[in-house]
């Protein structure tokens, strides 16, 4: 017999957007049910995305640094890597966070239902739980079902071929590996595996890694990763993958075409993510889902059905947790009668590679493609005392300004901690700061954050840490 439940707000999916929306709605006095198909809360981000990958990237960075110490006069023995223990530690980090979410849900009296949800009407979802079906009547629903890795049709099933989720298990950290896709996820995992001693090759169809970012930033990363032994095959397309007993055989076309298939011990497929809009029988509630699986919403996160909202990866690019979280808040607040809108001026993107790449607002690529006038100033970290004292002078801090108002339009940073540094520029873009505001804000010395002020000073012509001959007019 189907169990019946009734609630004011139902949230489908407990990723960062979903649990945020659920908790916010509960805090605003709503009775909330949060549905999650997996055992633990947190979605991709906490379980198999942002958090575990960052745990592994931290390990990779420490290992890398021990190598570099040798040049500085501190020599360590070759690290002994115990992948089981590494994974246990990584899982314990994830466990702490997801466990914390359960506690937060309990404190707010948000009821968690575990199982797959499908709409059965405009005001009802049915959840397939391990104890049978539960039908839940709701007043408002928030769809936060996220996205999943794209699989290529010609790739066979084999446990040596996996997506980013599988890569986090560190099943094998010896021999070689092919990373299919030179986007953020592929490069982050390439960074981890390379640091742990795997011989990594990255193949990318486009002519640039992380195609959304500016080339000058990406080149810095590429140079360093290449130095560490990662091979890059750009403008190259994988045409065939064959799993044989002694390895995975991959054929490629394009700039690095193979005469005969190349053999890899394992293959990571990181060619993108697709939205899960098609998995919830949205049509039964009348919610439109497009062919790709995206659900259209307005700037209050409302779908074409006015009491049903959608947030996060399933509503469109960029698929980022830090976009889903504020969207979740807006959806919950709008449901609770607040007149809020989702209208950021910028959403930063970060690749947590080593060095990190981060950008916010306008990129030079976008500016050129859309014919937007801009002027830029780049500060090379080779002139930053802090970067030098950390042995990491390869970074660049670049700011883009409107030629007329001199307001900041965008920023791009490559270098260690770029992901943390970018937030200042995001605030500057939101607040409409101009170059003077950035240059006149006193930044502590010596820090990497100084490079933002210094880039602004380059633009203003007031920099003293570099000598730049005056432009002839």
């Amino acid at each position: 017999m189907t169990k019946q439940m009734k609630t004011e707000v139902v949230v489908i999916g407990s990723g960062p957007g979903g649990y945020t929306a659920a908790f916010r709605a509960a805090d605003l006095g709503k009775k909330v049910v949060l549905i999650e198909r997996f055992k633990s809360l947190g979605g991709v981000c906490l379980n198999v995305g942002c958090i575990p990958s960052k745990a592994l990237l931290h390990i990779a960075k420490v290992v890398d640094e021990t190598h570099e110490m040798a040049n500085l006069g501190v020599e360590f023995a070759k690290p002994k890597l115990d992948n089981k223990k590494l994974v246990t530690w990584k899982n314990s980090v994830v466990g702490k966070l997801t466990g914390g979410l359960n506690a937060l849900a309990k404190q707010r009296k948000v009821e968690v239902v575990t199982g797959c949800a499908k709409f059965s009407g405009s005001h009802q979802v049915v959840v397939d739980t391990k104890d049978g079906e539960i039908s839940i009547d709701f007043e408002h629903a928030i769809i936060a079902v996220g996205s999943e890795s794209v699989n290529l049709p010609f790739i066979p099933e084999d446990k040596r071929i996996f997506s980013s989720t599988g890569a986090l298990e560190l099943a094998d950290i010896k021999g070689n590996m092919l990373v299919l896709g030179g986007g953020i996820i592929g490069l982050e995992m390439a960074t981890v595996y390379s640091a742990l001693g795997v011989d990594v090759t990255v193949v990318e169809f486009m002519d640039q890694l992380i195609p959304g970012a500016d080339a000058d930033l990406v080149n810095v990363l590429k140079k360093r990763m290449s130095k560490k032994g990662v091979q890059f095959l750009l403008k190259t397309k994988v045409t065939e993958v064959e799993a044989k007993k002694d390895g995975i055989y991959v054929s490629m076309e394009g700039e690095h075409a193979t005469d005969k298939p190349a053999c890899f011990k394992q293959v990571l497929v990181a060619v993108g993510r697709k939205p899960n809009g098609g998995s919830i029988a949205a049509e039964k509630a009348g919610v439109e889902v497009d062919q790709r699986g995206f659900i259209q919403v307005n700037n209050q996160m409302r779908t074409n059905v006015s009491h049903i909202f959608a947030i996060g990866d399933v509503v469109g690019q960029p698929m980022l947790a830090h976009k889903a979280i504020p969207e979740g808040k807006v959806a919950a607040e709008v449901i609770c009668g607040m007149k809020h809108y989702f209208d950021p001026k910028c959403i930063a993107s970060v690749a947590y590679t080593d060095p990190e790449i981060a950008w916010a607002g306008l990129t030079e690529k976008e500016a050129k493609a859309s014919n937007i006038a801009y002027e830029k100033a780049s500060f090379p970290w080779a002139a930053s005392g802090r970067a030098l004292s950390m042995g990491r002078e390869e970074g660049i801090t670049k700011l883009l300004f409107c030629p007329e108002s001199k307001r900041i339009l965008g920023a791009g940073i490559v270098g260690i901690n770029a992901g943390d540094l970018i937030s200042e520029t995001a605030l500057a873009i939101e607040m409409g700061c101009d170059v003077e505001d950035l240059a006149l804000t006193i930044h502590p010395h010596p820090t990497l954050s100084e490079t933002i002020a210094q880039a602004a000073e380059i633009f203003e012509g007031t920099i003293t840490d570099l000598y730049i001959p005056k432009k002839k007019k």
Binding site: D290, F294, Q296, V297, N298, N299, Q300, V315, G316, Q317, P318, K323, M338, K339, H340, Y341, F342, D343, P344, K345, C346, I347, E366, S370, N371, I372, A373, C402, E404, R407, E430, M431, G432, D434
Partner: protein, 433 residues
Amino acid sequence: MADEKEVKVPDIGGTSGVDVIEILVKVGDEITKESPLVTLESDKASMEIPSPVAGIVRSIRLNIGDKVSEGDVILTVAASQDEPQEEKVATETTSAKDENTKSGVQEKESLVQVAKNTPVSDTPAAKSEPDADSNAVVYAGPAVRRLSREFGVSLEQVQGTGRKSRITKEDIQQFVKAKLQEKSNAAGFSLPSAPQVDFSKFGQVDTKSLNKIKRLTGANLHRAWVTIPHVTQFDEADITELEAFRKSEAGKSKDSDFKLTMLAFVCKVVSKALAVYPQFNTSLDASGENLIYKQYCNIGVAVETPNGLVVPVIKHVDSLSVNEIAKEMTRLSTKAREKGLMPPDMSGGCFTISSLGGIGGTAFTPIVNSPEVAILGLSRAIIKPVYIDGEFKPRLMLPLSLSYDHRVIDGAEAARFTRFISESLSDIRRILL
């Protein structure tokens, strides 16, 4: 190619964002110097922009409905071969420069567009709430943008008082307060709105929109009518002698290109009256507590055109002779009828004269042309029996209707002012005194 020249919007009196309402040429047309290219319509008038060159139209860079300002490119012309060689060289260099400025303008426009599009993530064409999405290019932080949404205020309308004109939360509060105030003020004056009438019930009707001049003058007239306490003083002037003099003078200069009209004499007399009674050449300042006395004397003359009423202004009437005034009137009214009036031709007036004498009528009550404080209406002069020295004599009498702002001018002053005009017209020698 080398002698293709860009034609730009000339100085239109510093006005910007003027509507293009008509494009009078098309690509391939052969044009001569001074042939009209486009018609622009500003708040005050429509004007035709004449071509500064002769040649063949190569491309048109404007569309009807565009808002243009001085320096915007109207079209390009392949200059005629008979143009002097030197000029061609000069043209070439300037046109290269123009390309640059033009692409600059385009970039700016696209920036605005893109900025408007960016905030709504990458969502496939999100449908926005109706009051929503105009906030992308304004200078305000996220908290202020949120507050504006809550009040439903479009930030484009809010004047920022923060550093570098950033909009603050207080600015939004002030804006909302001001709007509420406006409403309650309006409520004090509120009139029952006119009921909607379905005229088609009674017969066939056509609906045509008012042209821009009518709409704008309508708004100005309504404001003046509601805000200025009007009084109209009526009088008559005996212009029997003056008319005889005018006729004899007008007859003498048959060959001239202007008409010596009675209006020109009235204009001269009014300039004298304004000097004698300076409170008629004033405006109230914005506070309504101070009177601004003008030390110059420009007089507007209402002219009827097919597009509506316009008021070209004759500058420094006090220093012009009656002939010069008449000449200037002829020039301006021709310009007005040919849509050639520029905003500078219509600004700076101190006092307005509206003459319906050519049509008829005995008197009317003109509306003060705010921010001026008085207006003189002239009706048709007719021969009336006037009792002089014990008998009725036929005299040519010109009816005068002076409307004035009673906040500035007392009834007695208005009567004296009108009398002065009347007596001066009866005996023009008085203005020499």
